[in-house]
């Protein structure tokens, strides 16, 4: 019965294979062009994390003026085989440097780095390195701290919602920085955390935000890639701190400010170093001084007093006067984790697994 279908499919395959074979020369690459791969965990227009990277990528391409071609793959799951096969695709198409932009790509990137020793890899937010695998990240906690100041000044109920993806050090660090920012202006306020276990799932993110709003939170913050948290705030008539990208035009009813990423400078420098042959595996961790992270301009919705306080703190951070994670810091149980005057080390920050005392929520 279905024999014909099978024969048909096979015939079709054969025909097109032969066609493909004839024309395979058409995609020959020009020598001058460097091919750069970008792997995103969500869609490139997610309005958040992946879009921040994609904006950086686009700017980099512009900066390099025709010397670079990029290959983008969206929606790659944080699963080793998916990452490895994406990388193989990219290498197969001539990429010489590949940026993986999600923490969960780590296993796949480590594996692929072994498989393709001649290709350069950079993994955003990870900690594993190799000769041809570097990491890059920004001290987003700095602008997060600043956004905490805005939130702390805004809240009337003294409860701030924080919708967060996964209990990994990167996210925990951000929450703590935010909470410390809140505390610096409003010691009575708490930061209420809800985990979604996903970077990008608008439905889940929104539900988490709604639950927190129902518990009395009147300002939302987020470590999520979509704008769903702000959407929930808008529906409930609350105010929001965004993340990744400015939502001043997309969420004008709720958006006060957001800690932002600007990868364009980093990507430009990094790709240039590959072209120049000076690329080296490193662990890049830039801050506000480097321009990779920044706080968006406050909108009219932010409290009047906020601008001044934010400016002061920004100045202090940039000048090195203010180090966010300086003691005395207590954890949720009240135990002193960092004694007065001590600065936390990078190692401690990179493996942070506790909440400061004005955070409400578990670490699971």
């Amino acid at each position: 019965m279905k024999k014909r279908l099978g024969v048909l499919m096979l015939a079709l395959v054969l025909v097109v294979v032969s066609v493909a074979g004839c024309s395979s020369g058409s995609t020959s690459k020009k020598d001058e062009v460097t091919k750069v791969g970008f792997i995103y965990v969500g869609p490139a227009d997610d309005g958040g994390w992946s879009q921040a990277h994609d904006n950086g990528r686009a700017k980099m391409v512009e900066n390099m003026g025709g010397k670079v071609e990029t290959i983008v793959k969206e929606n790659v799951p944080e699963e080793k085989s998916a990452v490895v096969s994406t990388i193989r695709d990219m290498v197969d198409q001539g990429c010489t440097i590949i940026y993986g932009t999600s923490y969960g790509f780590m296993d796949g990137m480590v594996e692929a780095a072994k498989e393709f020793p001649d290709v350069k890899f950079e993994h955003c937010s990870g900690y594993m390195t190799a000769d041809n695998l570097g990491t890059y990240f920004g001290k987003i906690e700095e602008p997060r701290y600043l956004s905490g100041i805005v939130a702390g000044l805004t809240t009337k109920t003294n409860k701030i919602a924080y919708v967060a993806a996964m209990p990994i050090p990167e996210v925990i660090r951000g929450i703590n920085a935010f909470a410390l920012g809140v505390k610096s202006v409003n010691p009575a306020a708490t930061v209420n955390v809800s985990w979604t276990n996903t970077w990008y799932d608008p439905t889940v993110e929104k539900a988490a935000a709604e639950a927190l709003i129902q518990q009395g939170c009147d300002v939302t913050a987020q470590h999520q890639d979509s704008t769903a948290t702000m959407e929930a705030a808008r529906e409930a008539g609350k105010l929001s701190i965004g993340y990744d990208l400015s939502a001043a035009t997309t969420m004008p009813e709720v958006y006060m400010t957001a800690p932002l990423w600007d990868f364009s400078g980093y990507y430009t420098d990094s790709v240039q170093s590959v072209i120049d042959g000076t690329w080296k595996s490193q662990q890049y961790w830039g801050g506000m001084n480097d321009g990779i992270v920044l706080l968006d301009a406050l909108t009219a919705l932010a409290p009047g007093t906020a601008q001044g306080q934010v400016d002061t703190a920004t100045e202090a951070i940039k000048s090195g006067q203010l180090n966010i994670f300086t003691g005395e810091l207590k954890d949720q149980t009240g135990a002193v984790k960092v004694s007065a005057g001590t600065k936390m080390t990078d190692e401690a920050l990179l493996s942070m697994d506790w909440f400061v005392d004005n955070v409400v929520g578990s670490l699971k």
Binding site: L8, I71, K73, E74, Q93, Y127, P169
Partner: protein, 354 residues
């Protein structure tokens, strides 16, 4: 008003014409979307095939996509032959992966060959049990297996989620919810991108060919699928046959869990199935539940999957567009089956006929 009427068996010539035009129509409609996305459709279609056959690596990637789909489709096929609508391949796949991981966690230091055998057995058993639950209820209480197997998918997914985020969470992953990668002694050996699961798939194809065409139980399953009355009339033990078919069907889907965990992913995760369990249903059905066509069609589907993945990066069209092209082709092929089996009749002609 229009009525939909079942047609006589279509002629082979008609079949070829209808299916060929379906593919062409699909490509034509997809072209519009491709053009809107800013690419040249002809180049793109050629690109699909370049992406699948253009190099040894690309071909191995196609095969890598084909193998799990093939085995899943064979598994689904066995149940479908019995008119037992196993929509739960996804869940059996996941449970097979759970079984595989469990073996490694319990006995982490076994030598590779013993490990592999144990993993195969465990994955088969886990997948089989996952389908035998609804099979038992169907045979015993006449429950609807379609819903039952579908719901078990979500239970399996929830279980894997719980394992990944809690019970089996890798403490060395710095809070990242993932299950630890399998050790070296639990990974399928591979040669230049082609891993051992291809060999397993070949064995499974041959075994399933024998099973469906040359074995008593396969014959009984086919009879039962055609007519339960006939099966009872010739003295087939209906309950036993349902359970055995479920065992084979679920077991095969379970083995895919092992192949993917140890051969491709290296660790169990909620993402491991990639929705293949559902694609397998389409493959099995389009193949008329016959082994040789399952092989051909899973290859064709692997070409679609790999091609879509390739054009995404090669032509820089958004992932959603690649998925739309896939969906359009599929839609037209399925639609052509409808055209082959039914025709529209208006009220007027109907009363004349009657």
């Amino acid at each position: 008003m229009l009525h939909i009427v079942k047609k006589d068996v279509p002629k082979n010539r008609e079949k070829i014409v209808v299916r060929l035009s379906a593919v062409l129509a699909a490509l034509a409609v997809a072209s519009i979307i491709v053009l809107v996305a800013g690419a040249n459709p002809i180049e793109l279609y050629i690109g699909i095939f370049q992406g699948c056959f253009g190099s040894v690596y690309r071909f191995s990637a196609t095969i890598e996509k084909m193998v799990p789909l093939l085995v899943l489709s064979l598994g689904v096929m066995v149940a479908f032959k019995m008119r037992f609508w196993n929509i739960g391949a996804e869940g059996q796949f996941q449970m097979g992966a759970v079984g595989t991981t469990l073996v490694v966690r319990l006995l982490p230091d076994l030598p590779l060959p013993i490990m592999l055998v144990l993993m195969i057995v465990a994955s088969f058993a886990f997948g089989a049990v996952w389908l035998m639950i609804p099979a038992f209820f169907k045979a015993r209480f006449g429950t609807n297996e379609t819903l039952f197997t579908l719901m078990l998918n979500y239970i399996a997914l929830t279980l894997v989620t719980a394992l990944q985020y809690d019970f089996w969470k890798d403490p060395a992953a710095n809070g990242m919810p993932k299950i630890a990668n399998l050790p070296e002694n639990a990974l399928l050996p591979s040669v230049s991108g082609f891993n051992l699961s291809i060999l397993m798939a070949v064995v499974i194809i041959l075994a399933m060919y024998y099973f469906t065409n040359r074995s008593k139980i396969g014959f009984e399953i086919a009879v039962l699928g055609e007519s339960e009355n006939t099966a009872r009339y010739i003295g087939i033990n209906v309950t036993k046959t349902i359970i055995i078919a479920a065992l084979v069907s679920g077991g095969l889907c379970g083995i895919v869990g092992m192949m993917q965990t140890t051969g491709v992913s290296g660790a169990l995760s909620t993402e491991i199935t990639g929705g293949l369990g559902f694609t397998a249903i389409i493959v099995a059905w389009l193949s008329g539940l016959k082994v040789p066509f399952v092989v051909v069609n899973s290859f064709a589907f692997a070409v679609l999957l790999q091609g879509a993945s390739y054009i995404q990066t090669a032509f820089q069209i958004p992932g959603s567009v690649a998925e739309m092209i896939q969906a359009i082709i599929l839609f037209f092929i399925l639609g052509s089956e409808f055209v082959l089996q039914y025709r529209f009749v208006s009220d007027k002609t109907k009363s004349e006929v009657a």
